[in-house]
Symmetry: C3
Subunit: 414 residues, 3 copies
C-alpha cells in the first residue's frame, strides 16, 4: 500500500491543481460532500459492522479504502475523461479539483463499499486493496462511458454505483477460494446490532444528498437536475421503502427481523438513484419505494439463502437484495419513465408545470431513444461490474489463504 | 399498517405534486431538514434507547413512525390548510411539496417522539401506530389553528410540538391498561447509556436548526424570523441549560446523575422554541436557559417520582420535565416577551437596532394583544395534546394486552 | 460552577447584543458551526471515551466544558479585542454576536479538548473547571495577539488551537500531583473502542470544516481565505495521513494498532490548519499529509512510551503526537510556504492562476517577513500554551486528591 501511495503522490504533484473558488460550490457541493462523507464512514462503515467479531475490521477498512478511492478517483477520472471524451492535448494537461470533485469521488467510494459488503469478513486488507484497485480502475471507465458517452440520466448512480458495485461484489464472492466459504453465520450481539442501526440510519438519512451529489454539470451541455425533484422523490421513496420493509418483515416472521430493517429500508434510495431525476410524480416515488421495500425484504428472506445453498454464493450483507436488484430495477424503470414522455398528454398540466425537469427538452424530443440509452447504460454497468468481480476475484485467489478460523474474525489483523 | 400505506399511496397519486425548484430552498430548508433528520432518528431514537432491554424497539419504532408521519403530515396539513384557512376550490386542488414541506413534517415527527417518550417500552408497534394516527390527525389541526388562525409566534414549535406532544404522551400513559404498569425500572447498562448520550447530544446539537426549521413564511404575510436571533438565542440558552443541569444534578446527589444530563440539558432548546423568536437580549436567553435547566433537573428529581407514586403516572423518559414544563413555561414567557414591547423605552437602542425582529411592527403595534394570542395558542396546544392522549390512550386499551414480562423488553417483537 | 455561571449571566446582560442578520452568515457560518459542533461533542467526546472505565466522564465533561467555553469565549474575546487592538471607548461598548461568533468559540473548545486529552481520566470536574478557566483566559489573549497583532496566517488554528492546546495539556499533566500518576493503562474493550472510532471518524470527517471555520474576516482588511483551497487541501491531506497511519501501523507491529488509527489518522488535518491556507499545490498537501501520518504513528509508538518512562509524562490520548508535533510542524511549514513566494517562478502559471490565494498580495510582497511572522506566532502559541499548563497544573495540585483507585474510573463522579 505504501508503494501505491508514493506513486499517487508523484502523479498528484505532476497533474493535479486546485480549481478556482466560488461560494456556490461551497454552499452546495461541500454540504453534499459532508453528508455523503458521514454516509460513507459512519453509514456504510457501521452498517457492515453488525457482527461483533469483525466490527473493527469493517469500520477501519472502510476508512482506509475511502481515503484511497478518493485519491485514485481524482487521477483516474481525469485520465479517462481525456482518453474517452476530450482527447489529450497540452492545454488540458492539468486535472483541476474542487469540492465538487470530492463529492463525485464519494460515489466511487460508495460503489466500492457496496462491493465490499458482499464479502466483508472473508478478506484481509491486502485482498481488499487488490479488489479496490481493480474496482476504481473500471469504475472510472464505466462512469465516463455511461454518463458522458451514452449520456444516460443517472443522477444518483443507480447504474454506475449500485448495479456496478453490487454485481462486482457478488461475482468476486463467488470466485474466492473455497477455504473462505463460511461454515457458520457471522455472530452478532445486542450492541453490535445497535452500532449497525446507527450505520443504517445514516445511510438512510443521507441518501437524498447522495442521490443529488452528482446533480451538477454532467452529460450534455452542463444542464442541471432539479434539486427539489431529486431530493423530494428520494425522501418520499425512502419513507415508503422503510414502511414496506417493516410490513413485509412482520408478515414473513410474525416478528421484525433486524437484518431486514438494516438493509431493505434503504432500497428506496437505491431505486431512486437512476429514476429519481426523471419521474415528476410524488405518487410514483411513493409507489416504487413501497414496492421495492417489499421486494428487497422478500429477496433477503427467500433469495439470499437460496443462492447460498444452490450456488454457494455467500453475500455477507445481502448486497444483492439491497443494492443489486433495486439498482437494476431502477435502471429499467428509468427507461420506462423516459419513454413515457412520448405520451405527454398522460401527465396532467400541473404535474408538468410543477417540476422544472432536467433535460426536459431532451426527454420530450427523444423519449424512446433516451429509454434505450438508459437500458444500455444499465447493462453496460452490469457488465463492467461483473468484469471487476471476475478480475478481482481471480487475483485475490493468489494471495488469499484464510483458514476457517479466520473468517469473520478481526483478531487476525488487530 | 400495510392498508394504511396503500391508502396513503393512492392519495399521494391523486393530490400531491412537486413544487418548482429554487436554490435558496436547497441551501436553507434542505440543510435544516438534514440537521433535523439526524436529530429525529439518531437523536430521539437513541435518547429513548437508554435501556438495554428495549434499545432495538426504541430505535426501530422511531424509524418507521418517522416515515409514516412524514407521509401523513403532507396529506393532512394540505387538507387542514384548505379546510380551516383557504377553503376548497378547484385551483388549489393539488398539494405542492418541496424540501421545506419535509422540514415542517419533521416538526410533526418530533412531537410524536416527545409523546412516545412518555410510554416507550410499554407498547408494541400496533399500539404506537394507533397513537401516531390520532396524534398526526390532531397535530395538523392544532398547528393550522395556532399558527395561521390565532397567528401566534411559535417559530420552533414550543406550543405545537413540545407542549402538545408532552401532554399527549403523559395523558395517554395515564390511561393505559393497568397490566402495563411497570413493576420495576427499565434496566440500563454502561453501553446502553453511552448510546443514549449519542442521542442526547444530537438532540442538543441540532436543536437550533429545529427551532429555526419553521422560520419561513408562516402566519401573516410570509414575513421571516431573524435567523441570527433564533439560532443564537437557542445556542446560548442550550449552553446555559446544560450548565444549569450539571450544577443542579451535582447539588442534589453530590454526584452527577446521567438521566438528568441526558434529559434536562436539552430543556434550554425547548423553552426557546416559542420565545426564541421574540426576545432580542442574549442576556435573557442565557438567564432563561440556566433557570430552565435547574427547573427541569429538579422536576426530574422530585416531581417525576411524586407523580408516579401519587397518580400512577409512569413517564419512561421524563418527558413531562424535559418537554412539558419547559414548553408551557416557554409559551407563557413568549406572552410576557411580546407584551414587553409595550415599553420599548425599556430596551436600549443598541438592542433594538441590533436585531431585525420578525413581525417587529406587529409586536410594537399590539404588544398586549399578541401576548394574549401567545397564551391562547399555548393552551389550545395543551388542550389538543390532552385530547390526543385521551383518544389514543382509550383506543390503545382495546388492543393492549402486555403482560408484566413484556414491559421494557423488546424480545417480544424481535 | 454555579457562581461562575451567575457572573457570566450578569456580564451577558450588560455587554452582549445580537448582531443584525444576513443570509450569507447562515448558509456558511452556521453550516460550519454545526459541522464543528458534531466534531466537538461526538468527535472529541467519544474519541476520549475509548476506555470503558471513564467513557461517561469523557463524554459528559466534554459536554459541559464546551458549554462553558462558548459563553466565556464570547465575553473574553470581546474584552481582549478591545484591550489589545481597538481600545475601549463608548461607541464600542457592546459585544455583538452572531453565528460566526459561535463558530469561532468552537475553536476555543477544540483547543481545550486537545488539552484535556492529555490528562482525561486523572481529573474530576472541579480540576477540569480550573484548567478550563485558565485555558480560555490565555487562549483569547493568544488568539488576539497571533491573528490580529502579529497577523499570522492561521486559518484553522494550527498555532492557536492545536499547538497551544497540546502543550498546555502536556505541561499540566507533568505538574499534577504524584498521586494521580497512573499505575496501569486505561482499560478499554471491544465496544468502547467502537465508540472511540465513531469519535475519531467524526473528528476526521469534519476537520475540513474546522480548518475553514475561521476563514472569514480576520487579520488585515477582512480579506478571505479561499474556501476551495482550504477545504480541498485538508481533505487531501487527511486521506493521505489516514493511509500513512495504516501503512506505518502495519509495518511497526505486523498488525494494525487501533490506537494508532484512532489518533494519527487525524494528524493530516492538524498539520493543514496553519499551512492549508497558504499552499496551492494539492501535491504538497498529499505529501505533507502522508509524511505526518507516518511521523504521528511513529511518535505514538516510540516517543509517547519514551517520554512516559523518562520524564513521567502521562499523556492519556497521545495528544503530543496527534496535535502537538503536527501543530508545531504545520506552523514551521507555513513559514516555509510563505517564504517560498519569494520565488514565484518556482510555481507553474497554472498553479498560481488556479487558486485565488487569500492575502496573495501580502505574500508576494513580503514573503520572508510573513515567514518570520508565522514562526513568531507559532512560538507565541507554544509559550502561552506552556503558561496555561504551568498555571493550571499548579492550581490543580491544591484541590486534586485522587487516589490510585480513582484514576481512569468514572464511578467516582457517577
Amino acid at each position: 500500500m505504501g508503494i501505491v501511495e508514493v506513486i499517487i503522490i508523484v502523479l498528484f504533484g505532476v497533474f493535479v491543481r486546485l480549481s478556482s473558488s466560488t461560494t456556490a460550490i461551497f454552499t452546495t457541493a461541500y454540504t453534499l460532500y459532508q453528508d455523503m462523507d458521514v454516509m460513507m464512514l459512519i453509514g456504510f462503515g457501521f452498517l457492515m459492522a453488525f457482527s461483533k467479531s469483525f466490527s473493527w475490521s469493517a469500520v477501519t477498512y472502510t476508512f482506509f479504502i475511502n481515503a484511497l478511492v478518493i485519491q485514485l478517483y481524482i487521477l483516474l477520472n481525469g485520465f479517462w475523461q481525456r482518453a474517452v471524451i476530450d482527447g489529450f492535448y497540452s492545454s488540458n494537461y492539468y486535472i483541476y479539483i474542487n469540492e465538487q470533485t470530492l463529492a463525485y469521488a464519494l460515489h466511487a467510494s460508495a460503489s466500492m463499499f457496496v462491493c465490499m459488503g458482499a464479502f466483508i469478513g472473508r478478506v484481509g486488507p491486502l485482498e481488499l486493496l487488490i479488489v479496490a484497485l481493480v474496482h476504481i480502475f473500471l469504475y472510472t471507465v464505466n462512469e465516463v462511458i455511461c454518463i458522458y458517452k451514452i449520456q444516460a440520466f443517472d443522477v444518483g448512480g443507480g447504474m454506475t454505483v449500485h448495479t456496478f458495485g453490487a454485481y462486482a461484489g457478488v461475482t468476486a464472492s463467488l470466485l474466492f477460494n473455497a477455504s473462505t466459504r463460511p461454515t457458520s453465520k457471522p455472530r452478532s450481539n445486542y450492541f453490535s446490532n445497535l452500532f449497525a442501526l446507527i450505520g443504517a440510519l445514516f445511510v438512510w438519512m443521507y441518501f437524498p444528498s447522495f442521490n443529488f451529489g452528482y446533480g451538477y454539470v454532467q452529460g450534455t451541455g452542463g444542464a442541471q437536475y432539479s434539486q427539489t425533484q431529486v431530493l423530494t422523490n428520494t425522501v418520499i421513496s425512502l419513507t415508503a421503502s422503510c414502511l414496506g420493509t417493516f410490513v413485509t418483515s412482520a408478515y414473513l416472521k410474525e416478528k421484525f427481523t433486524l437484518s431486514h430493517i438494516l438493509n431493505a429500508s434503504i432500497s428506496g434510495g437505491v431505486v431512486m438513484a437512476a429514476v429519481g431525476g426523471i419521474i415528476i410524480h410524488p405518487g410514483a416515488a411513493i409507489t416504487i419505494g413501497f414496492l421495492i421495500g417489499i421486494v428487497a425484504t422478500a429477496s433477503l428472506h427467500f433469495l439470499t439463502p437460496f443462492l447460498e445453498k444452490k450456488f454457494g454464493l455467500y453475500d455477507t450483507c445481502g448486497v444483492h437484495s439491497t443494492f443489486g436488484l433495486p439498482g437494476l430495477l431502477g435502471g429499467i424503470l428509468s427507461a420506462i419513465a423516459a419513454a413515457s414522455y412520448a405520451y405527454p398528454s398522460a401527465y396532467d398540466a400541473y404535474a408538468l408545470s410543477s417540476a422544472k425537469l432536467a433535460f426536459y427538452d431532451v426527454l420530450v424530443a427523444t423519449p424512446y431513444k433516451q429509454g434505450g440509452l438508459q437500458i444500455a447504460a444499465t447493462f453496460t454497468s452490469l457488465g463492467f461490474g461483473i468484469a471487476v468481480g471476475i478480475v478481482g476475484g481471480i487475483l485475490v485467489r493468489f494471495v488469499q489463504d484464510f483458514g476457517p478460523n479466520e473468517i469473520f474474525n478481526d483478531g487476525v489483523y488487530f
